[in-house]
Amino acid sequence: MATIIQAKNLSKIYKTDVLETTALSDVSFEIKKGEFVAVMGPSGSGKSTLMHIIGALDTPTSGTYILDGEEVQKLIDDELSDIRNRKIGFIFQAFNLLPRTSALKNVMLPMIYAGIPKAERLERAKKYLEMVGLGDRMEHASNQLSGGQQQRVAIARALVMNPAILLADEPTGNIASAQAEEIMAIFQKINDEGHTIVMITHEAGIAEHAKRIIHIRDGKIIKDGNDHKQRKIRN
């Protein structure tokens, strides 16, 4: 399997006038195509920082980060935007859909920034909304949907550019547990279709859906379990 993410000696140090905080220190790991990885850790462990670096939302203080063959740590702002657009599909805890805007338009947004022609945008957005089970709610404004439905719109939006990785930050943190299971079922389905998923969570029950769990604490990887038995059996 091809390597999608190659992180070598990643460190992130936040500096204020008086204080230096090390959020990540010397973290190295690799993620291969088709993996479903959960990053676990208590708050303040550095997992959010790691997620921001993996998501090209932030750059490391030192170390190298190669995403799908491109060295991310050297890139400037607009190049990072481009990388995020083409290679990363974000799923946020707070959904982050455009308010009062239809599901369809929300899903089309990344394709607008990629310069994809309108007809193709519409076709692809519809395809992915149907895939997440919202074929009958495409014209609903985001605020007219339930939490679970909003997160499914976000998943469709993340998939629509066919990114190298799907990056989910506490994807079930803001939704009811029954709906959370549905979201995880969709995650497993798209993982089975070959999409690489990196999911940040602090809930062990959610992390169990992944094939591999990276435990992080005090900015360091303390356990990297590539254990298939951990995966919950779907029924």
Binding site: H52, G55, L57, D58, D77, D78, S81, D82, R84, N85, R86, F90, F92, N96, L98, P99, R100, T101, K105, L109, P110, I112, Y113, A114, G115, R157, M161
Partner: protein, 416 residues
């Protein structure tokens, strides 16, 4: 990403968020509308004052008979009868006088004017045709006193609108009445003489000194010979060529009259020349005050309008910092985001500007007709209002947008 796509996205955002768009537009409408309305009203006031001053005649000199001293007894000012028609003719023909354009000898007296049924006490002025030119008299109907009528001592009279109302009742000045000939052709009696009405003047309004509408004008010769039996004039109005030569004109006329009256000492002068220098001074002071007031009003309303626009733009754009973070996370480049927000600001200020302009013009039109001011609209004030407000709107739409676009997307996403 193409510009048409960005424009579509900007319009989409504006139409989806109707309340926000409406509030921002309202802010701009009020900002621009109030500036235009205030400045336009201020200018209307200034124009009204200027035209009232203008109607007095700004380069006017008045020669009145002064006091005479005979054997140490000084008579009341204006009581002398030393000023004659010949003096007036000398002023208009003398080669020494170079600065006077028009000369209007006048004989003024207060007396009773009657028709068959009604009567009124009013001012009767004997004049020559020059009077109308100097005093800016215009006629609502009929004609003013002609040269020929002065020469032939014609028994004709021109009435001010107040006199018409007093003698013929309310409505006698109305166009309908005038269309049916009205008072013209009818007769009035003054001191036992019957005079035919040949004209009615337009209203000039009271100007503080006297009611310019409550006057009966007759030919100078008629006033002197038929009505009052006098051969002197009570004043001579002079119009200087321009306001700058008022002092020269005063001196020229003064020396000429001293010579004609065989007086060597100016202190002995049996006449006085009242220039309207005082009025001119007051006028320039008033217009100066108005200009300052107007600039103040414009500056304050621009400031208030500008701050309003600034606030609404700052708030609406800052509120969207999270949205900007999201757009960046999904792959929008800085330039694309800033362009979109700039286009939104331009659309808002343009739409708000047009509505505000219409509203401001409408308000000043209604208000000026309510408080009886001439409606004025200067394109410079409209341009100033729209120019300043639009640049403020665009600047404060752009500024927070570019600030948010320069944030790390993750910081913008966390923004509360």
């Amino acid at each position: 990403m193409e510009y048409t796509e960005i424009i579509t996205e900007a319009i989409g955002t504006l139409t989806v968020n109707k309340l926000r768009t409406g509030l921002a537009t309202l802010g701009i409408v009020i900002g621009i509308g109030s500036v235009i309305a205030l400045v336009s009203l201020g200018q209307a006031g200034q124009q009204a004052v200027e035209s009232q001053i203008q109607s007095l005649g700004s380069n006017l000199l008045t020669v009145s008979p002064g006091s005479t001293s005979q054997g140490g007894i000084r008579s009341a000012a204006g009581g002398a009868t030393t000023l004659t028609l010949a003096d007036a003719e000398a002023i208009s023909t003398s080669p020494q006088i170079t600065t006077i354009e028009k000369v209007s000898p006048e004989y003024t007296s207060r007396t009773q004017v009657t028709t068959g049924r009604t009567n009124t006490n009013t001012q009767v002025i004997g004049v020559t045709p020059t009077y109308a030119e100097i005093r800016n008299i215009t006629l609502a109907s009929g004609n003013f006193i002609s040269e020929q009528q002065v020469n032939s001592i014609a028994k004709v009279a021109v009435l001010g609108p107040t006199v018409v109302t007093n003698l013929f009742g309310e409505g006698a000045n109305s166009p309908r009445f005038a269309g049916e000939a009205g008072p013209i052709g009818q007769t009035i009696r003054i001191n036992g003489q019957t005079l035919t009405i040949i004209g009615i003047t337009n209203s000039k309004g009271g100007t503080g000194f006297q009611n310019q509408d409550d006057i009966v004008w007759v030919p100078l010769s008629t006033a002197q010979k038929q009505l009052f039996g006098a051969d002197h004039v009570t004043s001579i109005a002079l119009e200087a060529k321009n306001p700058d030569v008022m002092v020269d004109a005063q001196n020229e006329v003064g020396y000429l009259l001293l010579a004609r009256h065989k007086l060597s000492d100016p202190a002995q002068a049996d006449f006085s020349i009242f220039s309207q220098q005082d009025i001119l001074g007051a006028a320039s002071q008033i217009t100066g005050t108005f200009t300052a007031l107007l600039s103040g009003i414009a500056a304050i309303s621009l400031l208030v309008g500008g701050i309003g626009i600034m606030n609404i733009m700052l708030v609406t754009v800052t509120e969207r910092t999270r949205e900007i973070g999201l757009r960046k996370a999904l792959g929008a480049k800085k330039k694309v985001i800033i362009t979109q927000f700039l286009i939104e600001s331009i659309i808002l200020t343009f739409v708000g500007g047009v509505i505000g302009m219409v509203l401001g013009i409408g308000i000043s039109f209604v208000a000026s007709s309510f408080i009886n001011l001439p409606f004025t609209l200067s394109s410079s004030s409209v341009l100033l209002a729209i120019g300043v407000s639009a640049s403020i709107g665009i600047l404060f739409g752009w500024y927070p947008a570019q600030k948010a676009a320069n944030l790390q997307p993750i910081e913008a996403l966390r923004y509360e």
